[in-house]
């Protein structure tokens, strides 16, 4: 198998990697902006091409109320459950009949409704969304179904170690806030229809809505869209309160949920952190990539590829409107949990003690630029990049700074960042399983 079967093979030096090129230009598409009379902002990316479009209606979540913690998520999830003119089944029938997809998604800062549709069916599918925005009623029977099914889902999730680790960690970092929410079955039970209706009215109003359109959307389609969401969609007298209570991290830093029969333990380590708006953030993204942000990262190389303790380990940064987090997460064999934690500690401290070798750093630079280029696959991905900026209050110069940082930050600067931000002893440490 090792002999070379013919001449062309001998001529080919397979040990030598081919020449390669760095990524030079990354061009991001920018949207057209239009503000409707009712205050709703519309950002449109018209790609032409295939007759498809994705439209997102994004609303800022209302201020978290610890005594009614589930209102933001429950209202969002139940938007497809009926209006004054259509019940849940009719909404689903209409959307499905036109081959469209209607999705609701709840996030920490915003909640949204997304429509994927063939552009030619916009005239049939848009009125459904418009109806939902104005006339959702949250029927009592649907609420009961929602509560029961969510309670059952939660029961199953609570059996998953990584799920429990994530919520214990979030609660520790963010306290009893929207970012720290760890719902119980009782929280679902306490949901009241009147509260949902009230919450809906305050949150789902045009001045609290950002519409993001991506795909084939010519002037005619855009006019249809703006007409549908401008005419007759009015704001309430009280604007949406999207401020949030202050985040107060827990004083306790070690959280161990013991499961004596666990085969694996979920580990989550980290701390409250700077977010995308901070000047150090792009540099930290480089440092994070080296530590645990890609398949060849130090955590993967050591804890998976050298020790075989886990199927996967990684680190990342969560960036939110009112906060941020840094975390390292894995599920490891229960018998090697302590060793895995101590290897993580070694890797974090190594980045504080020694500069990253040139070869590794140049690999990470190229990887990150290639990855950015590859993440711009189609018009939807360009819209997603815009959302990252827009909701953080940043402009397109962010990506210029990002690429400049990735290309030019020095090993010394990265070491300084590691020392400025990371202190393993002070990390929050969450273990679910055996330790």
């Amino acid at each position: 198998m090792t002999q070379c079967p013919n001449d062309s093979m001998t001529a080919l030096n397979r040990k030598q990697a081919p020449q390669f090129n760095g990524v030079e230009n990354i061009t991001l598409l920018r949207p057209e902006h239009k503000k409707l009379a009712n205050g709703c902002n519309v950002y449109a990316f018209n790609s032409g091409g295939q007759d498809l479009v994705r439209i997102e209606w994004i609303f800022g979540n209302l201020r978290f109320n610890p005594t009614k913690p589930l209102l933001n998520v429950a209202v969002n999830t139940m938007l497809t459950d009926g209006t004054t003119t259509m019940n849940a089944a009719q909404i689903a029938d209409t959307i499905d009949f036109y081959g469209a997809f209607l999705q609701v998604d709840y996030g920490y800062d915003n909640s949204q409704v997304t429509l994927y549709t063939l552009t030619k069916h916009l005239a049939s599918t848009l009125p459904v969304i418009r109806d939902i925005m104005s006339n959702s009623v949250f029927p009592e029977k649907e609420l009961e179904t929602y509560v029961r099914n969510q309670q059952q889902k939660l029961q199953v999730s609570l059996q998953k170690n990584d799920f429990v680790a994530r919520r214990v960690f979030n609660r520790a970092l963010n306290g009893d806030t929207i970012y720290g929410l760890a719902a119980t079955p009782e929280d679902f039970k306490s949901l009241k229809r009147e509260d949902l209706q009230q919450h809906f009215k305050e949150m789902y109003q045009p001045a609290n809505c950002t519409m993001i359109v991506a795909g084939k959307i010519d002037d005619e389609a855009l006019a249809l869209l703006t007409d549908t969401f401008e005419t007759g969609w009015e704001n309430q007298s009280v604007p949406a309160d999207t401020t949030q209570p202050e985040l107060v991290p827990s004083a306790e830093r070690f959280f161990y949920t013991e499961k004596p029969e666990a085969l694996q333990s979920a580990i989550r380590l980290g701390m409250p952190f700077i977010n995308r708006t901070h000047p150090d953030f792009p540099g930290m993204q480089v440092l994070n990539t080296v530590l645990g942000g890609y398949f060849g990262s130090r955590l993967m190389a050591n804890i998976r590829e050298d020790k075989g303790y886990t199927y996967g380990i990684g680190s990342g940064m969560g960036t939110f409107k009112h906060g941020g987090s840094f975390f390292i997460a894995s599920e490891v064999g229960a018998d090697v949990c302590r060793s895995a934690v101590s290897e993580v500690e070694k890797e974090v401290n190594l980045l504080k003690a020694e500069v990253i070798p040139d070869e590794e750093l140049s690999l990470v630079r190229n990887f990150m630029l290639g990855s950015l280029l590859g993440s711009l696959e189609n018009v939807f991905s360009h819209a997603d990049k815009f959302k990252n900026l827009h909701f953080a209050g940043l402009g397109y110069d962010y990506y210029d700074r990002y690429t400049t940082t990735v290309k030019s930050i020095t090993a010394e600067e990265l070491k300084a960042l590691a020392n400025k931000y990371w202190d393993f002893d002070n990390f929050y440490k969450v273990i679910v399983g055996k330790y």
């Binding site: 990524v23 959307i95 179904t145 609570l158 949920t257």
Partner: protein, 420 residues
Amino acid sequence: MVNFNRFTLDNGLRVLVHEDSTTPMAVLNILYDVGARDEDPEQTGFAHLFEHLMFGGSINIPNYDGPLQRVGGENNAFTSNDITNYYITLPSANIETAFWLESDRMLSLAFSKKSLEVQRNVVIEEFKQRYLNQPYGDVWLKLRPLVYKQHPYRWATIGKTIKHIEDARIEDVKAFFKKHYNPQNAIMVVGGDVKTEDVKALAEKWFGAIPAGEKYTRELPVEPEQHEERREITTGKVPLNDLYIAFQMQGRLDESFHTVDLMSDILSRGNSSRLYKTLVKDKQLFSEIHAYNTEALDKGMFVVQGKPVAGVSTEDAEAAIWEQLELLKNEEVFADELTKVKNKTESTMAFSEMSLLDKAMNLAFYELMGDADNLNHETLKYLAVTPAAIKEQANKLFRKDNSSTLVYLAGKTEEVTEAV
């Protein structure tokens, strides 16, 4: 419409090129015609373990991932019961690096003992993480052997037991490579910002001299038709009961496939589907319910799976599912209902063309099934399905003596006090 050009190297490697200049990226996807169904019953999980070893260095290149990351690329792979598929995405200017890496590991692996040792552990942790340490994680380990008695689909890709993974030896790895990893058993798709002529030259340069190897001829036992009702009741450390009813169905290449596939959409695709509307919303018997098929190349499985609401007996829940299946057997579906699932299929096909990687993977898989061009006629096949054909397939599939029912009962879960 996914356009492509196609050529075959002298050593039997089939190459397809999909030119798409709207992206600055390129994809190189290699499908090897080997899956868990090709394993020895005493060495299950091997195809998947082998996939891990493909990243452990090849004959001339000690490290696979590093050189790719260095040129801005990413890669991954998956193993199914039917195939093993590897893919790379990278800036198109660096496409040659992908040829270099993929051709070297098709030529020969390094067969490092250390890599085998480590990946054995990694796969064992994967086994635990996905199948053993998850609520309901072992369902497929139980359901497959209930549905299949002869065919190797009776085990899951991860394998029957951790023991088989522990026992893997380097000689087995070498033999597996020789048998399955050669140009004749592979289909390569290169897509994105590339030109067919350039791909041809690069394919000749890097893959042309790899020996053709021996052609693997698949001779798998045929799963006999099922003529008895099968049932297993199991209790796990889970909080809720879960019900699975599986039916044998024809394979992916059978002409009935598109009809059966739409039948599962009628039953459970989206909130307007029959099972969701009737059993979750109206009768409130289930908290969730799904119907789907495994899209297997040999005889497949059509599965209806649902979690009954607390307080509903599994018997009543099962009867309610059967009532819906009987309805499909006795009455033709409504014209509007069929149009709806056809429209949904049509738009799904259109949306999937937004992704370069999806297109490349689809081309490779359709080529394996006979002709990549069939990808472009797939929608027409769905549009041709009739209500009468659905009724006919419902009668063929949904027989008690073609059913395997797994009742997964809630047992005592570990009492967990969350540390908060």
